[in-house]
Each structure stands twice: as structure tokens, then as C-alpha cells.
Symmetry: C2
Subunit: 315 residues, 2 copies
């Protein structure tokens, strides 16, 4: 009989949700930054406690923390005769629009799963990650959780009655290099959601649908030019741009520096761009950071990375 480890640590990557064309549906993984969560078995049945968080803004109540809310449900669903002690190392800035709540939730689920006597298949973990994510965002959608758990560029179809969304991995042309830039302000996902108009025109729906379709056709068909033609958000970005000082200048600079497209990452304030090579990506990063600095952001972080094919993994 194999002795299960009593403790496991998982890394879960940052993710870009929405991806301009696919609000609440599309997301991709950025492997260069992420959260680490260590889960240790404790004797108390069903108890989940947080021993350490490297950020004092995050709720320490296990039912309200994105990393642990799903574990509380996991204990209940599996009627576990033990509990979990959780250590959270946030690598993703809070309120950055880089899928931090999804990453903590996914890392916790993957780590906890590794200390179960009978680990669940990965597709069963998404439910618990979504519970964690919904604590932060106020609604249950998998545009960040899916790429965080599975890696790559993903479509999350509607969550069915079994609480498990269908996840589709979309191929990404090998040339695509992503730039992700984070100005040091916070945008609350709930607030960024609350400002969205509850309705849109049929005309805009048709136009945005066509862009989504063109983008997917570009990815499947390895057509970088079609991706460039389609990677555009006429719907959500205009409503949220004012939450990010300097956004319009940053986007303009990215496009002028050769980006295929540039839009808000998740609910913002981070902004992402897709480019067709690493050298273009470097120019785009410089241009974007410069514009954010000009807009008086006192600190700007930036990452360059391909769309990471790797989802969360055990360390």
C-alpha cells in the first residue's frame, strides 16, 4: 500500500480572462507567475484552517477565502474523516485582473486532492475551484479557473446541473507571445462587474460574436493575421476602460508597437496584448509600461510569456 503524503504544495498560474472576444467564456494561462498553496492533513474531521497568508487583505475565514471555500465543500461532499490546514503564498497581485482568486482556488484544490486517500480526477476538481472563485467574483464562471487548471487557451461552456462546465482547449499558434502589464492599482471584480450594463444591442452582439468566431478560426487555422483582425472587444472594454487610468494610451501604444490586439485582462487593471514574436513582444511591453508610467502609476509590473500549455501542478 502506498503511503499518501500528509502535505502537498501546488502551483497555479495567472490567467487572462475574457481575452477581449469571449467575455466570461474564454481565458488563457500565463505560466510565469502564479500562486502556491500548501495543504496539510489535520486530524479534525471536516475542519479547514488557514495557517498563513502572505497578504493581509485576503479573508482568513475559510468559508470566505477563495483558496479554502472549495475545500470546505470537498470535506463535506467526501465526508472526510480528516481536515486541511492551508498555507497560501500569493504570487499574483490581489485585484489585478490576473485570475488570482482562481489560482488560489485551483492550487488549493490540486494540493488537497494530492493528500486524499483516493484522489479525484482533474475534471472533478473544477467544481471546488469554482466555489472558491465565486467567493471572490460573486458569480460562478470558469473563464479563469479552466485555463488555470488545464493550461492553454480554453472555452468554458455553461455550467450544467452537475456543477461541471465543459472545457475545451483551443490550439494557439506557436508564434503567439503574450504581454501582460499590471499597474499597481486595484480593481474589485465585483465592482467591475456591477458597472456593466445588463443589456446590449443585438447589433453589438452580432459584431462581438463575429469577432469571437474570427478569433477562434484564427487559432484553429493557425492564422495570425485573422487573430489580429478579430482580437477586439467592442462590448465590455468601453465600459471598463475608465477604471484604468491611461488605458487608451496603453492600448494605442501596444498596437502601434505591433501588437495583434490589446485589451483588459479579466476585470482589470492589468492589460494584455498578443504579439506574433518575442521581439515584437518586447517592444510592446516597453511601450505599454511607458504609457502606464506617463499616466502616473507609481509601479508597473510586466511579463512576457507564450500562452502556457501547462495548468496547475504539484511541486
Amino acid at each position: 500500500m502506498i503511503q499518501k503524503p500528509l502535505s502537498a504544495t501546488a502551483f497555479a498560474p495567472a490567467t487572462v480572462g475574457n481575452v477581449a472576444v469571449g467575455f466570461d467564456v474564454l481565458g488563457f494561462s500565463v505560466g510565469t507567475v502564479g500562486d502556491r498553496v500548501t495543504v496539510t492533513r489535520i486530524p479534525e474531521a471536516g475542519k479547514v484552517s488557514i495557517t498563513h497568508i502572505n497578504d493581509n487583505i485576503i479573508p482568513a475565514d475559510p468559508t470566505k477565502n477563495t483558496a479554502t471555500a472549495g475545500l470546505v465543500q470537498l470535506c463535506s461532499d467526501l465526508r472526510l474523516d480528516f481536515g486541511f490546514q492551508v498555507d497560501i503564498q500569493k504570487g499574483i497581485p490581489i485585484g489585478s485582473g490576473m485570475g488570482g482568486s482562481a489560482a488560489s482556488a485551483v492550487a488549493a484544490a490540486v494540493a488537497a486532492n494530492a493528500v486524499l486517500d483516493e484522489p479525484l480526477p482533474r475534471e472533478k476538481l473544477i467544481k471546488y475551484a469554482l466555489i472558491g472563485e465565486s467567493v471572490a467574483s460573486g458569480s460562478m464562471h470558469a473563464d479563469n479557473v479552466a485555463p488555470c487548471l488545464y493550461g492553454g487557451l480554453t472555452i468554458a461552456l455553461e455550467i450544467g446541473k452537475d456543477e461541471t462546465p465543459t472545457i475545451i482547449q483551443v490550439p494557439v499558434p506557436a508564434d503567439i507571445i503574450c504581454v501582460l502589464v499590471h499597474p499597481a492599482i486595484r480593481v474589485e471584480t465585483r465592482e467591475a462587474r456591477a458597472i456593466l450594463k445588463p443589456e446590449l444591442s443585438l447589433k453589438n452582439h452580432v459584431q462581438q460574436s463575429a469577432l469571437f468566431a474570427g478569433f477562434l478560426a484564427g487559432c484553429y487555422g493557425n492564422n495570425v493575421s485573422l487573430i489580429g483582425q478579430s482580437l477586439s472587444d467592442i462590448l465590455i472594454e468601453p465600459q471598463r476602460a475608465h477604471l484604468i487610468p491611461g488605458f487608451h494610451a496603453v492600448k494605442k501604444a501596444a498596437i502601434e508597437a505591433g501588437a495583434l490586439g490589446c485589451s483588459i485582462s479579466g476585470a482589470g487593471p492589468s492589460v494584455f496584448a498578443w504579439t506574433s514574436s518575442r521581439s515584437v513582444a518586447e517592444n510592446v511591453r516597453t511601450a505599454m509600461v511607458d504609457q502606464f508610467m506617463k499616466a502616473n502609476h507609481h509601479s508597473v509590473e510586466a511579463w512576457i510569456s507564450p500562452v502556457s500549455p501547462k495548468g496547475a501542478y504539484l511541486l
Copy 2:
């Protein structure tokens, strides 16, 4: 020097627009039925006249007829020192939702092009076909014209300033067999468009976008089951179903007989279904026709066909 023929005849296929998931964007070609247009050069510069139409409902005024409106523009754009005489053989029932106006416009453009001294490439013809189509539908969108001209399943991206939409051909799994059923009532495209609510909820937009994305992923990924999960219209179909007596029973019967999905073809009243084999398609056709007959349609036509890879062609 090659002597150009003074007369040419083109066949253009029926098409299913919208295809449940992609309102105004997606369409596919059904090669088993279509319109034929013969164009003959006449000496009068810029004159376009209709010599024969096998349906007296169609306008005989060349600027108002879908087949000829584009040719009037073609004469003007190219400053032709001759004109066209046009003979229209409608094979597609008028007001059927089977892309009849697109087919006449496309067939006319393809036939006229063949009698030019310097024929245009096919991508230049779409403009003239769209002019014809817009005469009938009241708006210029290429969800029928694109598959009619190029064949297959197509995405039509927004029409740019050059009046030429970007058209993308989407692969269709080889197993897919389409059923198209036409009850003998007429639905005017303009009216079917006028009843649509000008706005929709963001929630419905997200849900319909995800279905469109899932459908495209199913087509590109040769995943028939994913197509079945996604081929669904939560947006337009509920608003137009009442225009087609028996629609709900027809759809239910199609699904129960094994269809992957079933929805309104274009603006209706025709209804299409996708199936995963010819034998299922035959059962689905029988079930759909039976239900239309029960709904007191005095005449019902039905076709079974793969998605035709062939667009309009010269005879």
C-alpha cells in the same frame, strides 16, 4: 485572343443562415436545391433587363430584384459599354428562409462575371451579391451570400469599408448530414427581422457566445458530440418560433429522432437539423415532415444533404 461567351448560366445553392448559434454571421450551403440565372450581354451600355422570371412575385424592376440590383452596380463600377439581359429560374421557394435572394444574387453575379471581358476574382463578386441580397432583406449581411458563393460552412466577419466581408470557411465533420424541411408558408425576412427585440441581456449574450464557440470548436475538432451539445439558439429562435406553426413539435421530434440540433433556417419558415449519419437523417426528416403535416401545413418539402463544399458554379 479568347472570344468571351455572350451568355452564361450559373447555379447557386440554397443556404441555411444563422445556423442556430451564429445569427447574421454563420451559414452553410445545401447543394441539392438552388437558383439558376442566365446572363446575356446586350449592346445597351449599363442597361440591365429581366427577360424571364419563373415566379410572378419577384420584382421585375432591375434595381429592386435581388438578381439584378448588383448587376446595375457592376455596370456602373466597371463603366461597361454593354448591358445584361437576365433570365431567372428560381429553384428555391420564395420566402422560405433557404437563402433564395442570396442565391439569385450570387448566381447573377457569377454568370455576369463570366461574360465580362476581364472577369473579376470571386472575392470581388461578393459585393455585388450583397447588394442584391440587401434589396430583399433590408440589411447587408453575408451569412447566406458567403456560403452560397464559396460553399461549405462559413463565418462572415463584419463588412469593412471596402464593402468586402472577410469570409472564413469552417471545416465540417464528414459524418454530418443536414436535413432541411420547408413548410409551404411564407415568412418575409424584413418582418422576421422587425419582430426581433433590439436588445438582449448580457447573460444571454454570454450563453449564446459560448454555444457559438463550442459549435466552432466541435467543427474544427471533429467532435460531433460537442456540436450536439452546442447547436442551440437561445436568442433568436424563441422570438421567431411563433411565425412557424408546429415549430416546437417539429424540433422536439427531430431531437427525439436523433438530431444533434434543430433550429430555424434563416428567417424561416424552413427548419434545419444536423445529424451524424444518413440513416439518422432519414428518420429525422420523416419525423419533422410528420409534425409539420400534423400542424396543418398543406405541403411540406424536405431535403437531405451533407454540407455542400461547393458554392455557385457555371453550368
